[in-house]
Symmetry: C2
Subunit: 357 residues, 2 copies
C-alpha cells in the first residue's frame, strides 16, 4: 500500500510575524483560502485515500492539524514531543506505518510547499511510487531549475536508470549544499542538476534499514519507541527517547550516504515558498509593483508588499519594502534582507521579546 | 494687565498616526513627559499667573484641556465650535478678554512649539509686552535663522524702532510666504530676515480695531458673538456665527496689511516641530543614527526613527525611515517625505479609512 507522510513540524520563522511558534507557516493562508497544509492534503487526495495520509507534527500543533485536516484519521497524526529534524521524524513515521505494513511505500513531503501543476506533480509521484515499490531504491523528486537559485540544495543526476510510466528515473551522482551564485550558474548551465525538492518516496523497510546502517543511534531509539507502541508508557517513552535522538536531516544523515538513490525530474512549478519575497510571484501587483493584503494605503510607494492584520498601514515615499503586521508585532524589512529574518528572531530573543515569536 | 492666549485648536496632521482628530499634536508627549500644551503653560507661568492664561481650542478638546492644564481656570478655556483659522480664534479671544480689560495686552502663541532657552524667551516676551503696552503697535517675535529653512515664513525687518529692556525692536518691512530653497539661502545671507514664529503680542483693543479695518466681516461676527456673552443663547449664537466667519490666518488677514508692526528678534532655540523628522534633533540616537521609542529591535538599520504603541516593531535592512505605530494604524514613511503626510491623510479619507484619522 502507498502512504503519504506529511512533515508539518517546521517553525517557518521566515514568515514571522505571521508565522509564530504557535502557528507556523504550514498552517497559514499564505496563498489563497486553503492553508499550506490543506493544499498539501488536497494534492495527495488526488492519489490516495485520506486514510493513507499521515501527518507528523509537533505535539503543540495537534489541535490545529485536527482542525485543518479533518479528513485525516486522528490516529494518523503522529506527534513529536520536540523537533529533532527530518531523520527522526521520518524514522518515527516509518516505524509507525511498519507495524501494519512494513513494505508500505511512503511518500514523504513537507507540508509547506507550493506546486503549480498538480496533475503533472501526481504523475511524477505515481512513477516515483512505482520506482520505490520493489524496495531497492530511495527515490526523490528533482526540480528542473529555471534560474540560478542559491536558496536550494542541488542533485547531480547520473545515468538513466529506467523510464517508468513515461517518466525517466536517473541515478544520483551526488547531493550538494546550497551553492553560491557562481556555482548556481554553473549548475544551471551544466543541465545535469536538479533542485532538491525534499520530496522522497521509499519503502518503510528500506528507509529503516538505511537508518540502521547510517544512523544506528537513531535506529536504536526508534526501536525503543516502537516497543512502547500501544502501552501506557508510550508517551513517556517517546518523550524520553525522542528528545535524545540525534538531530540530523534525512538528506545529510541518509540520502547523501546511500548509493541506491534515484531521482525523477519534475517540472511542475515547485517552490518551497521560503520567504516573504517568494510569495511575491504568486500575488497580483498594481502598476507600481505593490501588493496590499488587508487595509492600507500606499502613497508614492513602489515594489512593496504589505500584509496587515488589525491596523491600517500607510506607506509614504518608500520602495522595495516588506511590511507585515502580525498579532503582536510589525516587521519592516527591505526585500534584499528577506532571507535574514532569523536575525530579527535572534534579536527579539536577546532583548526579551520572546512572547512575540 | 497681561494675558496669554494659547492657540490649541490645531489638528497637527503631520504627526499622524500619533496625532488623531481626537488627540492632536498639542496634547501629545512628543518631547518628554509633559505634553506640548503643558510645556507651553509651564513656560508662561514664568511670566504671568495661571488666571491670566486663556486657552482657545476646539469644543471637542475641552476635557483634554481641563485634564492637561488644571491650573488654568475653566472659564478661561474658550471653545470654538469649529476651526476657522487663527484670525477668528484670536478675534474671539480678544473680545472675551475685552469684556473686562479692553486695554489688556495679549501674548498670542501656539500650543505646540518647542523653546530651548525658556529664560531668554521670557525676557524677549517681556520686552514685547512693553512694546505692545502703549497700544500703538502689533508686536511679533522673529527667530534668527540658522539654516535656509523652507518650511517657515520669513519677516524682513526695517529700521531699529527702539531698544526695550535691552532687546531691540525693529519695524517690519514685509512678511513673506515659505520660500523655495534658493530664496531661503538669500534670506539667510541677507541677515535682515527672521523666521515668523507665529508668536504675537498686542493690545486687545488694537487687534480688534485692525480686524475691523482689514476683516470687517469677521469683526461684525465677533460683535454678534460678544452680544450673546452670558446669555442662554450664547452657544447657539456662537455656533451659528462662528461657523460662517471668514476662514483666514491672522498673518494673511491682518499682519501683512498692517503698517504698525514691530519685530523683536529672539534666539532662544525655537522650533514649530512641524514633522516627525523635526523631532529627530531632540532625541538621543544610537551609533547607527536610530531612535526607538517603545518596544522594538532595529537590525541592520540606519538613520531610522521608530515610535511604537502596543506592538513590537522590528526593522531589518532599512534606512532613513520613520515608523510610527498609532492606536489604529501604522505609518512607514521615508524621511524625505515627512512633510507630505497630508497625502496619506487624503488617501485614507478617499479610501474610507476616516476612522483611523
Amino acid at each position: 500500500m502507498t502512504y503519504a507522510v506529511i512533515m508539518a513540524g517546521g517553525r517557518g520563522e521566515r514568515f514571522w510575524p505571521k508565522s509564530l511558534q504557535e502557528l507556523p507557516k504550514q498552517f497559514l493562508h499564505l496563498l489563497g483560502d486553503r492553508t499550506m497544509l490543506q493544499k498539501t492534503v488536497d494534492r495527495l487526495k488526488r492519489l490516495i485515500e485520506p486514510e493513507q495520509i499521515y501527518i507528523i507534527t509537533g505535539k503543540v500543533y495537534y489541535d490545529i492539524v485536527l482542525d485543518q485536516a479533518p479528513e485525516v484519521p486522528k490516529e494518523n497524526i503522529i506527534l513529536e514531543p520536540v523537533g529533532r529534524d527530518t531523520a527522526a521524524a521520518i524514522g518515527l513515521a516509518a516505524v509507525v506505518i511498519s507495524r501494519s505494513d512494513p513494505e508500505g511505500v511512503l511518500i514523504v513531503l513537507p507540508a509547506d510547499h507550493y506546486i503549480a501543476d498538480e496533475e503533472h506533480f501526481c504523475e511524477v509521484l505515481k512513477s516515483a511510487v512505482a520506482a520505490a515499490a520493489p524496495g531497492t531504491h530511495l527515490v526523490t523528486l528533482g526540480i528542473t531549475p529555471n534560474h540560478p537559485e542559491t536558496g536550494f540544495g542541488y542533485i547531480a543526476h547520473g545515468r538513466l536508470h529506467d523510464i517508468i510510466e513515461g517518466n525517466p528515473a536517473y541515478t544520483v551522482d551526488r547531493f550538494t549544499e546550497k551553492p553560491d551564485y557562481r556555482r548556481a550558474l554553473e549548475y544551471l548551465a551544466n543541465g545535469n542538476y536538479y533542485w532538491n525538492s525534499g520530496i522522497f518516496v521509499w519503502r518503510a523497510d528500506l528507509i529503516l534499514r538505511l537508518i540502521k546502517q547510517h544512523l544506528p543511534e537513531l535506529h536504536a531509539g526508534l526501536l525503543q519507541i516502537a516497543g512502547a507502541f500501544g502501552t501506557e508508557g508510550y508517551e513517556s517513552t517517546l518523550l524520553k527517547i525522542f528528545t535524545d535522538l540525534p538531530k540530523i536531516s534525512i538528506d545529510y544523515g541518509v540520502m547523501e550516504k546511500a548509493g541506491n538513490v534515484l531521482v525523477l525530474p519534475g517540472n511542475f512549478g515547485w517552490d518551497d515558498v521560503g520567504s516573504w519575497t517568494a510569495l511575491e510571484s504568486y500575488k497580483e501587483k498594481d502598476e507600481q509593483g505593490n501588493y496590499l493584503e488587508g487595509r492600507g494605503v500606499l502613497v508614492d510607494t513602489n515594489n512593496t508588499l504589505v500584509f496587515t492584520s488589525d491596523k491600517v498601514v500607510a506607506t509614504l515615499g518608500v520602495e522595495d519594502l516588506i511590511v507585515v503586521e502580525g498579532r503582536d508585532s510589525i516587521l519592516i524589512c527591505h526585500k534584499e534582507h528577506a532571507q535574514e529574518i532569523k536575525k530579527v528572531i535572534i534579536a527579539l530573543q536577546e532583548q526579551g521579546y520572546e512572547e512575540v515569536l
